[in-house]
């Protein structure tokens, strides 16, 4: 039985953060999917916003889970989340043959189920006995799935299985599909996976300590989300239209710059001192 250690007192309770992150992520995903459904990809950047929403939620979950003293488990939590998330995302993407609007919600539900099973295994079978374990792993799997879908949309403009496994090129009026150079065939999904997994664990891992503050950690989560979006936007030049890729890149850059500056300001607020080229002085000496 692990002992709970309070990381810091939160201003906003976890359930509220979760609700806000989830709504932001799902609404953004649906806007992007609606854009793709209507036949243009200019709204692909909403996938990045969805990833940001998912990361804010996931961070709060990691903080809750990791208050049970699993220090080195923080990076592993990010990997686990995206590992289960990728299963759910691919499963859900298959359902796009019925309707593309089914994919985001199906991804969320399947991930929750996968996560519940994994959480039950780690808590009961592996005997880790952490009270919030089952729920947290389920939440993390859902976060992984939603963030992965968001980053996929930024890169390709789509979430449906047929679109992310084929790259269509018009040759002499005939459309030819290539698997090798598609989002999954070329392994770009591995880039999304790593970007998301590190971005998910980084904010809490970087801010942990007795002086951790919720708003600063959340700002870092937003920064990590936009930073991942920048990379996916650069890669998206190979998949989506030029205009759509530029829109994603510019919005990613602006979002990242604003949140990075804000994070610096918050760190300055919380730091014991902010010194430039000055030596330290020991309090006890």
């Amino acid at each position: 039985m692990s002992v709970k250690v309070e990381a810091s007192h939160d201003g906003i309770p976890h359930n509220k953060v979760m609700a806000m992150g989830l709504i932001l992520a799902l609404v953004s995903l649906y806007i992007a999917v609606a854009g793709a459904f209507a036949g243009y990809d200019y709204l692909a950047f909403f996938g990045g916003i969805a990833a940001v929403g998912a990361l804010i939620w996931g961070n709060s979950t990691i903080k809750k889970l990791c208050s049970y003293g699993i220090g080195t488990g923080v990076p592993s939590a990010g990997m686990l989340a995206f590992g289960s998330g990728v299963i759910a995302m691919l499963f859900a993407a298959k359902l796009a043959v019925i309707s593309p609007f089914l994919v985001p919600i199906a991804g969320l539900v399947i991930a929750l189920i996968v996560g519940l099973v994994l959480g039950w295994i780690s808590n009961s079978v592996l005997n880790m006995k952490i009270p919030v374990m089952t729920r947290s792993i389920a939440e993390l799997a859902a976060v992984g799935s939603v963030a992965l879908m968001g980053l996929t949309v930024v890169a390709t403009g789509h979430v449906s299985f047929s679109e992310i496994t084929a790259f269509n090129i018009d040759i002499l009026g005939i459309t030819v599909s290539f698997y090798d150079v598609s989002y999954i065939g070329a392994g770009i999904i591995a880039v999304s996976f790593m970007l998301g997994a590190i971005a998910l664990q980084h904010p809490f891992n970087a801010c942990l300590g007795p002086g951790e503050k919720q708003d600063r950690t959340n700002m870092l989560a937003i920064e990590c989300g936009f930073l991942s979006m920048i990379v996916m936007a650069v890669i998206s030049f190979a998949f989506v239209s030029l205009v759509a890729a530029w829109i994603s890149l510019v919005i990613g850059l602006i979002g990242w710059f604003v949140s990075y500056k804000k994070y610096f300001a918050l760190s300055k607020r919380d730091a014991a001192a902010w010194l430039d080229a000055k030596p330290f002085s020991d309090a006890e000496e």
Partner: protein, 298 residues
């Protein structure tokens, strides 16, 4: 025959690139205090020892390097798809990966240090500026060489994996090699030079890391100077050998017995190394033995 000769050439080149990558990776992580040594850097202010050592915790080295190399590979692939010259594409990918690495490094330093405000640990902006750029330089070298090795495997050796997937495999291997081989040369040795050699770290000395250098207060750049001598080359040798043996057994033994030749060669290589490792361990134990208290004069 020609294919085998080209294969051997690529194997040698990739092994050399990997040796450089390993050396740069270990130096980068030691300057940034990533991985194992970071726990003591984090602990020091809580024990009353404020310091100017970089406190960077992006994650363990293997996942962090998996991200940098994978994303560089992905971006390079996207640029190659847009008909950009492969060398330029790899450079673009590496630049973007180094940028992401630098941003993660600064946010990790700021976050961890600001959260230690209770213990009076200040944020040093000059440390942030000087150390981050040095780690970024080393990261650039490590990422560029690894991505180039991946590209060679993918195009010349026709590896069945896509470029970003090779990035996952070799980024992880690079981080693991640097973490496992390089850190023992740094970790406790560098941080506890003020303790008696061979004594281990007694609990009472926890967090009492070396904070002063010859010319005043020490920053982490000094760690690069220290570990570049043994830790970096050892990591380079380790990662270089991994890449070299891996490619060499594939190039030479793949045609034998439907691919099983390569598998058997791999198992034999592992067995040979296990015997060597065991021999070195027994030899070291016999010669250096466990720590014994210094004999007191009667």
């Amino acid at each position: 025959m020609q294919e085998i000769i080209i294969g051997i050439g690529v194997t040698a080149l990739a092994g050399a690139l990997a040796a450089v990558a390993g050396a740069a990776e270990d130096t980068e992580s030691n300057i940034g205090s990533q991985g194992d040594p970071n726990s003591q850097v984090q602990l020091a202010p809580q024990m009353g020892y404020t310091h100017r050592i970089y406190n960077k915790a992006v994650s363990g080295e293997p996942p962090a390097y998996t991200l940098w190399v994978t994303l560089a590979c992905g971006v390079a692939w996207a640029f190659i798809m847009m008909n950009v010259n492969a060398v330029l594409a790899i450079i673009f990918g590496t630049v973007l990966a180094t940028f992401v690495q630098g941003i993660y490094a600064t946010t990790a330093y700021l976050g961890r240090t600001a959260s230690l405000s209770k213990f009076g640990q200040p944020v040093f902006i000059d440390v942030l500026k000087s150390v981050t750029t040095v780690t970024m330089g080393h990261a650039f070298v490590a990422i560029f060489t690894t991505v180039t090795a991946c590209y060679l495997m993918s195009t010349v050796l026709h590896h069945p994996f896509a470029l970003p997937l090779l990035g996952v495999v070799w980024g992880l291997a690079l981080g693991a090699a640097g973490s496992a081989t390089g850190n023992p040369y740094y970790g406790k040795e560098r941080q506890y030079q003020n303790q008696k050699f061979g004594a281990g770290v007694p609990i009472s000395a926890s967090g009492n890391i070396v904070r002063y250098a010859e010319a005043g207060q020490r920053s982490s750049i000094d760690n690069g100077f220290f570990t570049a001598k043994l830790g970096g080359p050892a990591s380079g040798l380790c990662f270089g050998l991994i890449v070299f043996f891996e490619l060499w057994r594939t190039v030479l033994f793949e045609p034998i017995a439907n691919g099983w030749g390569a598998v058997v060669a791999g198992v034999v290589i592992i067995l040979i190394f296990m015997i060597i490792d065991r021999y070195v361990e027994v030899w070291a134990r016999k010669n250096y033995g466990p720590y014994t208290a210094a004999a007191t004069e009667a």
